[in-house]
Amino acid sequence: MHSDRASLGLKIAAVGGLLFLHLPILLIFLYAFTTEDKSYQFPPPGLTTQWFGVAWEREDIWPPLYLSLWVATIATVLAMILGTLVSAAMARTSFFGREQISLLIILPIALPGVITGMSLRSAFSIMDIPFSTWTIILGHATFCIVIVYNNAVARFRRLSGGILEASADLGANSFQTFRYVLLPNLGTALLAGGMLAFALSFDEVIVTTFTAGQQSTLPIWMLQELVRPRQRPVTNVVAIVVFTATFVPILIAYYLTRGGSETAGAGK
């Protein structure tokens, strides 16, 4: 028997699954407000907002935060430029070995981070490149490019049909075609790809561990922080920041790529 409505059992399973996925996140938020700073005891003995102030005062948070923002920004910009160029090339031309190259491009995201990290690390040592912010950025760019590429290539394929010609046919010059047809169709895909890339870079740990020298990005700082039981709720406060910094772009990306885009309509 088929019914359009989910059965009760399925609903319970779905709700259970969602709770399992999301309750831990809620706990992280909760423990940012606990009065107990040594262990995660449940329920929290009391609630306070003091940890936000403490976190603000802590000098050691700022360098990792800046580093993470900097790395994510540069890696995203790099990925947007290179990813768009690659996708334009892949979508518009057909050449021998195109499918294989396409696979090679998306490989970095399919490979386990440890492999990417290891290979980059050995490559850097072979080439005598000292570990620095730039080695982290390069590491992140490898998978950020894939994200942008994936978003853009799908859109390019849709565009490579007749709509650019249709625009010219209706009397538009190249600039108008770029402005009114290409950009609105590609723009949202690029923006979405960029947002996702930023979010991915911002909380990346594995590749960063392999490619960073003595520096810590924010996620690595958090990992180190959790090991020693000192002002633990501060870590939770930072977790909320990380959550916001990654969740908001992902949410925006989701709305940008959902269905047809509404942005930059003709001559609004």
């Binding site: 849709r158 049909g161 007749g162 709509i163 010609e165 249709a166 625009s167 010219a168 046919d169 209706l170 009397g171 538009a172 010059n173 108008q176 009114y180 047809v181 609105p184 169709n185 269905g259 047809g260 885009s261 509404e262 942005t263 930059a264 309509g265 003709a266 001559g267």
Partner: protein, 335 residues
């Protein structure tokens, strides 16, 4: 009568000069202003390339193209007074129907209010009033086709190019749109250049048609001329379902020793005795309005149309074939 479009020995070859793909090869044609001109031919015969030569998306590798007397060799697509209904419609997915239709006016700098009014007019012309706010994705195939038509007509082109515009529609809708397109064309008086691989469509809609074969024009003329007097075997085969008779059979039918064509509807099926031509029935296809017999005759399959109500012979039976000798059309060329 002015020529809307003229091709003078126009060629478009692709690929290396040593082994070119001759998509269009030495085509001469004249399309009269205000006429409904069809380009008919099998897939790959160069019809789309011809349209793209007119719209300017392809440049000829040889010859001259004139639009209303003007050599358009150096005029880019956006400055030709020609618009296209693309095969896949190519509607702008991010714009609603109204903005799609008004696009041609927008890029000319027409203000929003005027172009919205014009877009609504065009939409009512193609019977899509009230669809302005929809996105192309929310329309059926037939509706998209109408939007593409409205969008191409908004600039009031002198020539409208249509590349297999009805190819993606189902039969019923296709027939309705054929009538509508034809009516629209006579009403607007615009020159339509209509590409199709469907001979029925070309014959029923066109004022004149060109039959394409491998980048060349096999025949050009009115539908009646092309149908009744195919110049080559290819045309006879492709346009309609004519019997193409090799020289020996033509001779047997009382003609010269040349290739000829004979329409199935011109053949009468009679009793086997007392006629010069008799053959064996090898197949019968019921068509509703009659039956189509295949008759093996001196080794050649000949089709004959049997009107409804006549007794249908059994397969394997021997039947006679009679016809009016004037119906036998002897062809000039072979290929």
């Amino acid at each position: 009568m002015t020529a809307a479009v003229e091709f003078l020995r126009v060629s478009r070859h692709f690929g290396p000069a040593s082994a070119p793909v001759k998509a269009v090869d030495g085509v001469d044609l004249t399309i009269a202003e205000g006429s409904f001109f069809a380009m008919l031919g099998p897939s790959g015969s160069g019809k789309t390339t011809c349209l793209r030569l007119i719209s300017g998306f392809e440049k000829p590798t040889g010859g001259t193209i004139r639009i209303f007397g003007q050599d358009v060799g150096d005029i880019p697509p956006n400055r030709r007074n020609v618009n296209t209904v693309f095969q896949d419609y190519a509607l702008f997915p991010h714009m609603n129907v109204r903005d799609n239709v008004g696009y041609g006016l927008m890029v000319k700098g027409v203000d929003r209010r005027t172009r919205d009014t014009r877009a609504e007019e065009m939409l009512s012309l193609v019977k899509l009033e009230g669809y302005g706010d929809r996105k192309p994705a929310q329309l059926s195939g037939g509706q998209r086709q109408r939007v593409a038509l409205a969008r191409a007509l908004v600039n009031e082109p002198k020539v409208l190019l249509l590349d297999e515009p009805l190819g993606a529609l189902d039969l019923k809708l296709r027939e309705a749109m054929q009538d509508e397109l034809k009516a629209l064309q006579s009403r607007l008086g615009i020159t339509f250049v209509f590409v199709t691989h469907d001979q029925g469509e070309a014959l029923s809609m066109a004022d004149s048609l060109a039959v394409f074969n491998e980048g060349k024009i096999a025949q050009i003329g009115t539908p009646a001329e092309v149908y009744a007097r195919p110049r080559t075997r290819f045309v006879a085969d492709f346009v309609g379902s004519s019997n193409v008779l090799p020289p020996e059979v033509t001779r047997a039918f009382g003609g010269p020793l040349k290739w000829s064509s004979l329409r199935p509807e011109m053949l009468r099926v009679t009793a086997a005795d007392g006629v010069a031509l008799a053959g064996t029935v090898t197949g019968i296809r019921y068509l509703g309005a009659g039956s189509r017999l295949s008759v093996a005759l001196n080794g050649t399959e000949v089709a004959a149309l049997l009107p409804a109500g006549q007794p249908v012979p059994e397969p394997g039976a021997t039947v006679g074939l009679a016809f009016d000798p004037s119906a036998l059309h002897v062809m000039e060329g072979e290929g």
